[in-house]
């Protein structure tokens, strides 16, 4: 009996797991459309803003006396909000480690997303953690954006780098370490008219630019997380169904073997009894 109950226990475990993964897949499916929209609009907005800011930055003259060497580097890595998303975090982690390995001065590291505690021992370095929930991430990162903005305006030569999973397609998200500031000069220089002047506009534009970049990275990463989750939950469901099928087959086979054995024992015992009864009758 022990064998049967062991199989039954496993069937129960896997059925429960299967329920969880199935529910997760359904939840992900309902949310994914909104995420995709957010990512698309954030991407468009950032592209526009980047073009504008690039042109503006060309005209802005850094205060004299500012240092020429990069004094500080900021690194923001966008991890997932929840688990159950396959290799999403691992891919990003590898990219982050590769990026950090090449740095000479240790950058200020910020990890966004609630699912980061696991990487502490892997990174083995100081970092600050921002939970960055979907509806509050702006407020949570506002302080950081202001800090970076103030440093740039004060004339410090700093670098800002975002590390996130770029959304290529539903099936493909590639981890990317993207330099946000200083911005690359625009390919085509546009004629722009500034009112009142560049010095008045630059601080506002800088803040807007950083926020737009953050929004793009955040929403692309978030949408990527959902796509990853959808895929991994689908795989998990397939796996669970496969294992369940095998287990049920094994269970029925074991059960049937037992029945067959018991039947044959009963029948043969009955036959023996019949023969011995006959022998007795004949007086042998």
């Amino acid at each position: 009996m022990s064998q049967l109950s062991a199989i039954k226990d496993r069937v129960r475990t896997i059925t429960n797991l299967h329920k969880v993964t199935k529910a997760m897949e359904m939840v992900t499916r309902t949310k994914i459309h909104k995420m995709r929209q957010n990512a698309a609009s954030a991407k468009d907005y950032q592209e526009l803003y980047a073009g504008l800011f690039g042109a503006l930055a060309l005209k802005y003259v850094i205060k004299p006396g500012a240092s020429q060497e990069t004094s500080q580097k900021y690194c923001l890595a966008f991890f997932s909000q929840k688990g159950f998303c396959g290799g999403f975090n691992e891919k990003l982690l590898n990219c982050l480690r590769a990026a950090l390995a090449t740095e000479k001065i240790p950058p200020k590291l910020y990890l966004l997303g609630r699912f980061q505690a696991k990487w502490k021992h892997v990174l083995a370095r100081e970092f600050q953690h921002i939970a960055a929930r979907e509806n509050t991430y702006r407020e949570e990162t506002a302080g950081l954006v202001a800090e970076i903005g103030a440093k740039i305006l004060a004339g410090e030569k700093i670098e800002v780098c975002f590390i996130y999973n770029r959304l290529v397609s539903v099936l493909e998200q590639t981890p990317l370490a993207q330099k946000i500031y200083p911005p690359d000069p625009p390919a085509v220089e546009k004629e722009i008219l500034l009112e009142p002047d560049v010095d008045a506009l630059y601080p506002e534009a800088l803040k807007g630019y950083l926020t737009a970049c953050l929004a793009k990275a955040y929403w692309e990463s978030a949408a990527g997380e959902y796509y990853f989750r959808l895929l991994s939950m689908k795989n998990a469901n397939d796996n669970a169904e496969l294992i369940l099928g095998g287990l049920l087959l094994e269970y029925n086979k074991t059960r049937q073997t037992r029945i067959t054995q018991e039947l044959s024992e009963v029948i043969s015992a009955f036959d023996v009894l019949k023969v011995s009864a006959e022998k007795k009758e004949r007086g042998v």
Partner: protein, 470 residues
């Protein structure tokens, strides 16, 4: 009854012979009966053992030799005693059949040699002397998870082709060569070739002079296979009781003994019991196992291989053997399928002496911790199969990684399997074994690649392998 009673064969069904004796000449149960006859012009001799006495002076005997050509009406002679086997120093270095005759083409056993009946009795209750000393085998997984008892009984359980015989051969290699004392080997119903291999192997390693081998292999009659362990045991008992020696007793395979009993049981007219086994399964096993024991006069340390039919450990034959043993090592097909040899299942294997007061705190704690890690890994296996390792919390991920390393570290190259693995055998001392597993459990080996743990001896060897890989 006195010897020399003569009877006539009246019925032959396979190995079962019914013989009619006159009322005052009826042989006793277990007496050996000799029948001589001619078959194709060749003189034949059949030895049978009285198993049942029925009405009308008919005794039902189990033949130990083939009954081909045996005619009804042939004359049967009662030898007046059970099967006897020579005992004492003369049996060392020799190979016997279950009837106590040599089969190695050597010089005949001198007639003045002492002979004992193979149907002895278990030692008395007050003479039994249970032992609590660890017998180091040099096999990591066995020494750690199911330490063998010096002077105790140990079983090796496993389905077909998971490596029972290889392990028992390795144990003979490790134990008999280091043991220095006398060993007795009973080959019951296994491959005849293996018996020959063992004999040649022992001869070349020089252990043969301290060993007696008794073979009733798969080609023998069920009656012969049924008494093979008894013959070997009688020889072992002599060394224990008369010469006060520590004897190593190996048996491969106990299940064949049960199977032989089952083969004759139905022919004797007994109604089969659960799963078709003989109704006397318990008493047959009991009579055998109770004799394999340590007494005040000497120890018998026995290692018995037990075949597990259809990998079902709850099979009556396997289950009944379990209860007699001090330590049991269970081999598993899943582990063998992973390529990990010896395929010992550390969670199912157990030992009576895996106790703090006997093996010491360090050994006990290491074994328990290894068990805990492997158990947790087993629980997590389904989750890993469905979701992948990355979904596990950090602690569980570590457990999975360590458990996989532990599993691989349980594998070990064997001296007797050198031709299969191409690796020289490793004998790992118990201290090194414990040290190795403690290193894995403490996390000090977390950075070593999993593959380095496979087929290694000590943890130092793992480190060397890892260094070579990088």
């Amino acid at each position: 009854m006195a010897a020399g009673g003569r009877g006539k064969v009246i019925q032959i069904i396979g190995p079962i012979i019914d013989i009619h004796f006159e009322q005052d000449e009826i042989p006793e149960i277990r007496n050996a009966i000799e029948i001589r006859h001619n078959y194709n012009g060749v003189k034949q001799r059949v030895i049978a053992e009285v198993a049942m006495q029925t009405e009308g002076g008919i005794v039902r005997c189990v033949s130990l030799l083939p009954t081909e050509g045996l005619p009804r009406g042939a004359e049967a002679v009662d030898t007046g005693h059970p099967i006897m086997t020579p005992v004492g120093k003369t049996v060392l270095g020799r190979v016997f059949n279950p009837m106590g005759e040599t089969i190695d083409n050597g010089p005949p056993i001198p007639p003045e040699t002492e002979r004992h009946s193979i149907r002895g009795n278990p030692p008395l209750f007050q003479d039994i002397d249970p032992q609590d000393n660890v017998y180091e085998t040099g096999i990591k997984v066995i020494d750690l998870m199911s330490p063998y008892v010096k002077g105790g009984k140990t079983g090796l359980f496993g389905g077909a082709g998971v490596g029972k015989t290889v392990i028992i051969m390795e144990l003979i290699h490790n134990m008999a060569t280091h043991h220095g004392g006398i060993s007795v080997f009973a080959g019951v119903g296994e491959r005849t070739r293996e018996g020959n291999d063992l004999w040649l192997d022992m001869k070349s390693s020089g252990v043969l002079q301290k060993t007696s081998l008794v073979f009733g292999q798969m080609g023998e009659q069920p009656g012969a296979r049924l008494i093979t362990p008894l013959t070997a045991l009688t020889q072992a008992e002599y060394f224990r009781d008369r010469e006060h020696q520590d004897v190593l007793f190996f048996m491969d395979n106990v299940f064949r003994f049960v199977q032989a009993g089952s083969e004759v049981s139905t022919l004797l007219g007994r109604m089969p019991s659960a799963v078709g086994y003989q109704p006397t399964l318990g008493v047959e096993m009991g009579r055998l196992e109770e004799r394999i024991t340590s007494t005040r006069s000497g120890y018998i340390t026995s290692i018995q291989a037990v075949f597990v039919p259809a990998d079902d450990i709850t099979d009556p034959a396997a289950a009944i053997t379990f209860s007699h043993l001090d330590a049991s090592t269970v081999l598993s097909r899943q582990i063998a399928a992973m390529g990990i040899y010896p395929a010992v299942d550390p969670l199912q294997s157990s030992s009576r002496i895996l106790d703090v007061s006997i093996v010491g705190r360090e050994h006990y704690q290491t074994a328990q911790e290894v068990k805990r890690v492997l158990q947790r890994y087993n629980e997590l296996k389904d989750i890993v199969a469905i979701l992948g390792v990355s979904e596990l919390p950090k602690e569980d991920e570590l457990i999975v990684n360590r458990a996989r390393k532990i599993q691989r570290f349980f594998s070990q190259p064997f001296a007797v399997a050198e031709q299969f693995t191409g690796l020289p055998g490793r004998y790992v001392k118990l201290v090194d074994t414990i040290q190795g597993f403690r290193t894995i459990l403490s996390g000090a080996a977390d950075d070593l690649p999993e593959q380095a743990f496979y087929m290694a001896g000590s943890i130092e060897e793992v480190r060397e392998k890892a260094a070579k890989m990088q």
